[in-house]
């Protein structure tokens, strides 16, 4: 058993443990923190696979950005001490059965399949190669997805702002007569 193996099982164990805790914890804030641990462990696996850039992105965007966002929204929508409402036991059991069956089936399936690891020389996923691939447009170039994802991010940003913004007429509805009753009734 090498250090590598130990590292791997450590990460794997923490991923599974904290995943389970994420979906079972009664306190939402704790769930978020457990999720953070899962994501960090995943980043560790990426490091192990020698994908350092991806691991860095995982840490900054996921662990840094999204988790903070989630924690903020938890703080906005519920009390820290508030315990989450749990689904009925029946629902839990059935869901557990279905997911367990699904997991078993999937694992069973791919275990039967013999993957043949490739022996071809690996490409170093360092920042140089990654950066080049991201902006080149030929074969193995990812310029178009890069641009598309940037537009998506912009759109998501605008959308998030518009959605989360307080609607004006709601704030002033009390002292202004509604002019167009048809369009305002949806909110």
């Amino acid at each position: 058993m090498t250090l590598n193996d130990i590292m791997f099982y450590l990460f794997a164990g923490s991923i599974l443990t904290f995943s389970v805790l994420t979906v079972t914890s009664r306190r939402i804030l704790r769930s978020a923190v457990y999720l953070l641990f899962v994501l960090v462990s995943t980043a560790g696996i990426y490091f192990m696979l020698n994908y350092n850039f991806l691991a860095a992105v995982q840490l900054t965007v996921y662990a840094g950005g999204i988790i903070v966002l989630i924690i903020f929204s938890i703080l906005l929508t519920s009390h820290v001490s508030e315990k989450a409402v749990v689904a009925p036991v029946r629902q839990q059991i059935f869901s557990a059965l279905a997911t367990a069956a699904g997991a078993a089936l999937t694992i069973l399936t791919f275990l039967q399949y013999a993957f043949t690891p490739s022996a071809s020389p690996a490409v170093e996923a360092n920042v140089h190669n990654v950066g080049l691939a991201l902006v080149s447009y030929g074969r193995d170039g990812f310029a178009l997805p890069f641009e598309v994802i940037s537009i998506l991010l912009l759109a998501a940003m605008v959308g998030a702002i518009v959605l989360a913004k307080k609607e004006k007429h709601l704030a002033t509805a009390g002292n202004q007569p509604k002019i167009n009753p048809d369009n305002s009734s949806k909110s």
């Binding site: 590598n4 991923i15 769930s31 020698n50 991806l54 993957f115 071809s120 991010l153 759109a155 518009v162």
Partner: protein, 105 residues
Amino acid sequence: MIDNIPLNSFLVISTLMFFIGIYGFLTRRNLITMLMSIELILNSVNINFVVFNKFLYPNLLHGHFFSLIVIAVAASEAAVAIAIIINIYRNFKSIDVENLDQMKL
């Protein structure tokens, strides 16, 4: 570095993570925890992409980039989802998914 760890181990982990995420999605009543379950699912998928890339096509980086893009999508998805959740909270004073069946009628 990873030579002695079989591909299947990674796959088992990602699969279990995936179904744990689904379990969470099916059982948690809070919208935000449901969102977190989705993040789990996405994450497990990412692992798969990366692992397949590393083991089966080490000469390419497609899986790597796919994960990168999924992370970006997850980020924007989280942003929009949280905006929606906040909006819902503002209107319903609750983010319990059980109360959100207005679209049915």
